[in-house]
Every structure is written in C-alpha cells, then in structure tokens.
C-alpha cells in the first residue's frame, strides 16, 4: 500500500506543479496538462482513502504484538476501509492497483476470520467467560 502510494506521488512532475502553483493571477485550468491533473487527483485521493487504514494497520500491528483483542478489531476495520476504498476507486477510474489490493484484502479478511486466528486472539476472553460461575449465566 505504501509502495503504491510512493509510486503514485513519485510519477507526478512536481516541478511543473510548483511552477503552476507559483504563477501569479488566475490559472486557466484548461491550460494545465490533463494527465498531470489526473495523476495529482489520483495521488491525493489515494492519500485520503488509504491514510486512515494505514494508521489503523500500524496500531493493529502493535496490538497484535501485545496480543490484545483490539489489534484484531483494528485490523478488521482497516481491511473494511481498504476494501471500501478499492471499490470506490474501481467504480471511478478502475486503476490497476485496485485489483491486487482487493485480492490482498480478501485474503486478509479470510485470514482474520479463520478459526485459528480468532481462537488465538479471543482466547483470553473465552477463558474468562468459561471461568464465570454457572449462576452468573442464570443456570
């Protein structure tokens, strides 16, 4: 994700953007190179869509290191956001990078919901629930 983001930003001709930004007076949009505008728009949208899930994934990584249930929750929310962003991109301009990200997200969703991962992450909570006295369950 970060790699794709870096690539999106690196292919923009920043000198030209700077020149346009420093030009005094009004800029006629029609005069700007269409491809450049498209690249700029895509990079900014990518940044907006993928920054929150990237932060969540970092936090989730920390959570997983500490084996907290929150790590799993953050990772799941991040995957949902990534999928949503990819589907928005797909509906809009169908960029090539949407497909590998979708495939990766599907894999991650299945992995996060697999029995072994859920059992490992929810172990502490299950153990606590089992230890509760029968009366607490109303039995």
């Amino acid at each position: 994700m970060v790699g794709i983001g870096a690539w999106l930003f690196s292919r923009i001709d920043w000198d030209r953007v700077k020149v346009l930004a420093n030009e005094p007076g009004q800029i006629q949009v029609q005069t700007i190179d269409g491809a450049l505008l498209k690249q700029l728009e895509q990079a900014i949208l990518y940044f907006i869509y993928f920054l929150p899930p990237a932060i969540l994934l970092l936090l989730a990584g920390l959570g997983f290191v500490l084996l907290r249930r929150r790590g799993w929750m953050l990772a799941s929310v991040a995957q949902a956001l990534i999928m949503l962003a990819c589907l928005f991109f797909y509906g809009d301009s169908r960029p090539w990078f949407a497909y590998p990200l979708i495939a990766c997200s599907i894999f991650m969703i299945l992995l996060l919901n697999s029995r072994s991962v859920r059992a490992a992450v929810h172990r502490r909570r299950t153990a606590l629930a089992d230890a509760r006295p029968e009366v607490a369950h109303g039995e």
Binding site: S76, M83, Y90, Y99, I109, R115, E139
Partner: protein
C-alpha cells in the same frame, strides 16, 4: 399398589401425589392459576364444527357437566368438538381505564390484582429480520384464525368469579407404572393461555393443560429419581432432570417449578427465556444455505460462534420471550398458597377418556397455536398423546433403568454377553478349523493346471471365510471389553457413584443472562421503532435518491446495521459481516476482470500440485 404395569389404586396414588407434589412459582401479574376443570366445564358451552358447516352449540352454558362432556354428543366423521367460554357482558368487560378504575373500586370481579410488566421488550433482544418477521406474523394473525380479543376478557371474568368465591389451587393427578417406573403425573389446568394478549407472546387460546411428571423407582420404598417439566411442544431427554442434579431446585421432597406468564410453560430456573417459533424454509433455499454454510465453515475454515454442525433442515425462527421470573405467587406445601386435594384420575374418569375434543375455542388456525388444547389423554387430532400412553418414552427414560434395577440389569446383560461369547467362540473354532483345512487344500492345488478352477474357488472361499472369522474375533473382543466395562460400572454403582447428572441433556433451555436483559430505554425505543424507521428510510431513498440508489441503499443499510450492532453489543459480529460482504463484492470484481486468468491460474495450480506430488513420490 395394583398391577405390575398400568394404573395404581386411588388411595396409594393420592398419597404419592401429595408426597411429591410440586411447588410452583408464578410470575408477578399472572392472570390464571391451576384450577379444577369441573367449574370451568360447568360454565362453558359445548360446540361442534362439522366439515363445511357452521359450528353449532350442542350443549348451552349452564347445562354442561363433566359427565355430559364424556358422552361427546353428536359425534360424526370429521367433527371437531370444542368448549367455549361465555362472552362477558358489557358491564363485565374491562379496558385499560376500566381496569385501573376497577382496581380502586373493586368492581365485580376484581381480578387480576396485579398487572404484568414486561420490562425490556423482546424486540430489543433480536435482530431486524426477526422484528420484520414478527410484524408479518402479527399481520398474518388477521388472516389466520385467532382467538378474538374479547375472549381473554371472558376468561378473566370467568376465572375472576372462581377466585372471588374462594382462592383454590388444584392439580389433576394420575399415577401409572411403566417399565419399572412409577410415574406421578401432575396435570395443571388453566382457564386461559393469554400469552399473546397480556405477555406479548405468540398465541392465545382458551384453556391450557400443562404437565409435570415425577418418576419414582421402588426397592422396598419408593425413591424419586427424575422429574420432567413440559414446555411448549418439547419432548425427550432435554425435558428431564435427575433428582440429585444440583440444578433441580427442591423443597424437601417437592420439586420447584417456575411457570411462565401467560404461556404456562414450566421451567427449572427462574428467568426470562427466548422461545423460538420455527418455520421450515423451502427445500431449495434450505439446500443452498446448507451448501454455503458448509463451504464457509468447513472448506474455508472460518470462525463460528459455536461449533459448526450440519443441520438436518434449515428453519426460520421468530423469537418470543417466556417470562418465568418466579416473583409472583408461590403455590405448594408451605408456600403462599397450598394445593387443594387433587382431582384424581385413578381410575381414569370418563371425561378424560370419553371426550376427545378441544377444551376451548376452535379457531381453525393452520398453525394450531390459537386452537385450544385437547385434554390430558389426547392430542388435538384426537389420537392418544404420547405423554399419556408412554410417559417414560416421552421424557426419554425408556433407555434408562431405575437405580433399584441397575445392578440386576447389568448382571442380566453380562450373562447374556457371556452366553453369546460361548456361542461365538464355538462358531469361531469351527470356522477357524474349516479355514485352516481350506488353506491346506489351496496350498495343495496351487500351480496345478488341471485344478486351476478348483483352486480359484478355494481361494474365494478362503477370503469369505477369513472375513467371517475376522468379524467373529472382533465381536468376541468387543463383547469381552463390554463385559469388563459393565463389571466396572456395576462396581462404581455399588460404591455409590453415579454417571454425570446432566450427561443426557443436549440443548437445555436456559434463561437469558442478566447482562442480556439489561438495556437502556434508548435501546428499547430503538427496537420498537427500528422496523418502521427502516421502511420509511427506504421509501425516502426510492423517492429522492434515484440517481444514486445503490450507494444510498448500501449506506443506509450499513448505518442501520451499525446502530443496531451498537445497541446489541455486537460490533465484532457487525464488522465481520461487513468484511464478508465486502470480500464477496471484491471477489466478484476480480472474477469479472480476470475471469480467464483465474481459470488458467487454477488449472496451472492443479497441474503444479499434481507435479509436486509425483516428484515427491519419485524422491522417496
């Protein structure tokens, strides 16, 4: 006692029934308590409905007695007999305001004294689909047969008059012997089941017969071993509890039961139960759902809240709450109210065996939930009920021996096994001898061209005989292990050990936890209005957002699902569901874009896998 198998004489029956009679705890606000059925019958009229004809009154109110009921007059093929509670006069009816006024002014009859309060509504405990189905279920009642609203008032007036004459609490008792058990059958008769009208439940019906059985064994003196409480249409192992089960509440020799408000279902623990009304799904839908479930949980090894289990059939359920709080009147020995002497059904009275009709209004409801029940001996279709002719089997005790008989049964079983083993041993010896002889014959005829056919036949026989010998040896070995295990079991029983008290229970009905019943007013309000709000939102979207219909619908559904998940503390499940939905959409996108590539990749993967497997075999 009378016979080895069958009914017990009246004097002994009454003594046993009184000795183990239950303590019954009701929910505050209950309108109807167990009563003697005679005054109820005296106050009803008897009707008969023949196919394609209007129902006719065959015995008017005031003329009906239990003896007259037993005659079941004007019986013809297809006729349904039923009782009908007299409609209340306008003066006797009570609306909400009138009920409040009556409580202050003590109008006649001033009954009930308390009103039921549901607390947190059942709708707050279930999801959207169930709420929508519930709304449809309520609408369907308009088309289905249903007990008219006035009938519950009729029941109230009738029962109120009985209670004003004197508060009496009666059960109907019957004692029977079956398979070494003495079965005490306590039948509780209520004038009305007002579950739907007063307790937000699934149905109403005039009259209600509920039951509670105690199973005794006899070795010198009688000893209680099991109890079985009936709840709705449940039968089998889950119904019963062992007498020494710590979960079974007892006061001395009296088992304690909690009766749910309105429905009168009998429970072992106080609490609020989620009772589901199940409707089978169409076969095709059921098959698709089963395949998808198997793919998801078995093939993809995805997480399930409880162990994945293949269901024989899929069904759709609407949940209702059974309130068995036990915070109301308690009836039984040493309680708020004592039982009156029981109405004995030993020997079986003619009104039990002779009247096969319904004990209240026949609404012709296709689901039968609103039709009154038949008497203790019959089902609604006039066949003899299982709890009457086979009470032991009804409670799943037909495979259980009494404690008194256990050692005797084990000894008999071991003797039987020993006898069988002797026979098997002898057969085994004989067949082994024949097998060895055949083996020798085959050895002699091998490589003899003129005896090749004989050799083939011998080889075939050897194979068959060898299989038989193997089966016999297995049987001998199994029987040996079984005999030893039975011996160990007998030893444990002699030492006073018993198998786990709850080993027979598969799905025990449990009240919902306190945590689940606790919810804020906002959650309750949301549960009540959510279905209507969703429908209004959908209409607004269709009317105003046609250009972005799909996005608006997805957004609205996701928003409502999120709010719902928040209220029901199921955010984890919501996120998982949302992710699964997104993953499915994503998979479809990939499939559409890379269809042929995916096919090629799949074929290549299979090829590589086969290649890898073959190369591994070569390398070994």
């Amino acid at each position: 006692m009378a016979n080895e198998e069958g009914f017990v004489d009246a004097r002994e029956a009454e003594a046993l029934l009184r000795r183990f009679e239950p303590v019954i705890r009701f929910t505050k606000g209950e309108w109807f308590y167990p009563m003697d059925c005679e005054p109820y019958v005296d106050a009803c009229s008897l009707w008969v409905k023949r196919p394609d004809e209007d129902a006719v009154c065959v015995v008017p109110p005031g003329e009906l007695t239990l003896d007259r009921l037993a005659q079941q007059p004007e019986d013809t093929t297809g006729a349904v007999h039923y009782l009908k509670i007299r409609n209340p006069t306008n003066d006797e009816k009570r609306g909400l305001w009138a009920r409040w006024r009556a409580r202050r002014s003590h109008t006649n009859p001033d009954w009930p004294k308390e009103t039921f309060r549901a607390g947190r509504g059942r709708l707050a405990r279930v999801g959207y689909i169930s709420r929508l189905a519930d709304a449809l279920f309520s609408l369907a009642l308009l088309a289905r047969g249903r007990v008219p609203g006035g009938d519950v008032e009729g029941g109230r007036v009738l029962y109120g008059r009985f209670m004003e004459k004197g508060q009496r609490f009666t059960y109907h008792g019957n004692v029977v012997r079956q398979d070494g058990w003495i079965v005490l059958r306590y039948w509780l008769f209520y004038a009305f089941n007002d579950w739907r009208s007063n307790v937000f439940g699934a149905n109403d019906h005039e009259a209600d017969w509920e039951k509670l059985f105690v199973f005794l064994s006899e070795s010198g003196e009688v000893r209680p071993e099991w109890v079985a409480y009936a709840a709705h249409e449940e039968t089998g192992d889950d119904l019963r509890r062992r007498w020494d089960d710590p979960e079974l509440e007892k006061i001395g020799e009296h088992p304690v039961a909690y009766v749910c408000a309105g429905s009168h279902a009998t429970r072992y623990f106080r609490g609020e139960y989620l009772t589901e009304l199940a409707f089978p799904l169409p076969r095709a839908v059921s098959a698709v759902r089963r395949i998808l479930r198997r793919f998801w949980y078995v093939t993809l090894r995805q997480y399930a809240d409880e162990d994945y289990r293949e269901k024989p059939y899929e069904q759709f359920t609407i949940p209702f709450v059974d309130y068995g709080r036990g915070d109301g009147l308690s009836v039984g020995p040493g309680q708020d109210m004592e039982w009156d002497p029981p109405r004995l059904m030993n020997p079986v009275p003619s009104w039990v065996s002779g009247y096969r009709g319904l004990w209240g209004l026949y609404t012709q409801d296709p689901f039968q939930g609103e039709d009154a029940p038949a008497g203790p001996m019959y089902d609604r279709d006039k066949t003899i009920s299982r709890e009457w002719f086979d009470p032991v089997g009804w409670a799943g005790l037909d495979k259980v021996t009494t404690r008194a008989e256990a050692l005797e049964v084990i000894a008999g079983r071991r003797a039987e096994i020993e006898g069988r083993r002797a026979l098997v041993r002898s057969e085994l010896q004989d067949k082994s001898n024949r097998l060895r002889a055949l083996g020798m014959d085959a050895e002699a005829t091998r490589d003899q061209s003129h005896l090749s056919k004989l050799h083939e036949s011998q080889t075939r026989h050897i194979e068959e005989l060898s299989n038989e010998v193997e089966t016999l040896r297995e049987q001998l070995s199994d029987d040996e292990v079984l005999a030893e295990t039975l011996q160990d079991h007998a030893e444990r029983l002699r030492n006073g050990e018993r198998p786990p008290a709850r080993a027979h229970i598969v799905h025990a009905a449990r009240p919902v936890s306190e945590e689940e019943t606790r919810a804020g007013r906002v959650a309750q309000l949301w549960a009540s209005i959510s279905v209507a709000v969703v429908l209004v939102a959908l209409i607004v979207i269709f009317a105003l957002e046609r250009q972005h219909l799909l996005s608006a619908l997805v957004f609205a559904i996701a928003l409502f699902a999120f709010i719902e998940a928040g209220f029901r503390r199921r955010l984890t499940r919501f996120i998982v569901s949302a992710n699964i939905g997104l993953a499915i959409v994503g998979a479809l996108v990939l499939l559409q874009h890379y269809f042929w590539q995916i096919i090629v990749l799949a074929v290549l993967s299979v090829g590589l896998y086969i290649l890898w497997e073959n190369l591994r075999e070569l390398g070994r």
